[in-house]
Symmetry: C2
Subunit: 136 residues, 2 copies
């Protein structure tokens, strides 16, 4: 028993609109089965959607994602093709490593700002206490 999904089920599960899912199909990212006019989605479509959303969160464009799918599929080709894929992977890896570094930087910056704010709030609190003790 292989479970299938309607477009609205998928859109609910992934918090996308059906419009978006159809758009992804237009862009060649999904190729659902058809029952006449209706679309029928399988688990492999959900896998793809997960990959799509991951890549999107990392800022990849839809065409880059489509290219990726094409690569993964063509990975069983001839030697030249395989070397090409290795090359693309190396470049993507470089981008991701850059992003990792960027994230660390930004996290650091945020922590600095946060700390300054917390310090400030601390001094404000103690000022308040001073005022209270004066009053009492």
């Amino acid at each position: 028993m292989t479970t299938t999904y309607t477009i609205s089920q998928l859109s609910e599960q992934f918090d996308l609109t059906s419009r978006t899912i159809r758009f992804y199909e237009d862009q060649g990212l999904l190729t659902p089965e058809r029952a006449g006019t209706k679309r029928i989605y399988h688990d492999r479509d959900r896998v793809r959607l997960r990959l799509i959303m991951r890549a999107k969160r990392l800022g990849f464009s839809l065409s880059e994602i489509r290219e990726t799918f094409g690569l993964y599929d063509s990975a069983s080709g001839e030697t030249g093709q395989m070397k090409f894929v290795l090359d693309v992977i190396a470049k993507r890896r470089a981008v991701l490593q850059q992003q990792q570094e960027d994230i660390l930087h930004v996290l650091q910056d945020m922590q600095n700002v946060e700390q300054r704010i917390l310090d400030k709030m601390q001094t404000l609190d103690s000022d308040e206490n001073v005022a209270e003790s004066v009053q009492s």
Copy 2:
């Protein structure tokens, strides 16, 4: 002696077009000094540009970046404002952590594909060697 920069110097240093730099100014991300009609950039503008490009590599929109600058500046405000900033920081941090996780997933996927390709090339190599030894 405070070094200053022209727009074309900056565009060269950061590998952006002057159009882009002016656009960032339109969006309120930069506020260079003016000498009549000409723009004069200082080191603080370069700092900002570095932050902008980092954020862009992580997929943040220009308006989010502008908002960030506003936050950092307003960090010395009143308590409510400061709590708000802390809240924004927390949300940003969540996004960045999600991205870190995503990156690890994608790196893992890429490594799997890479390994399969390398294996494939390995078997192809040994096939080739068999052919050679047959020939010799």
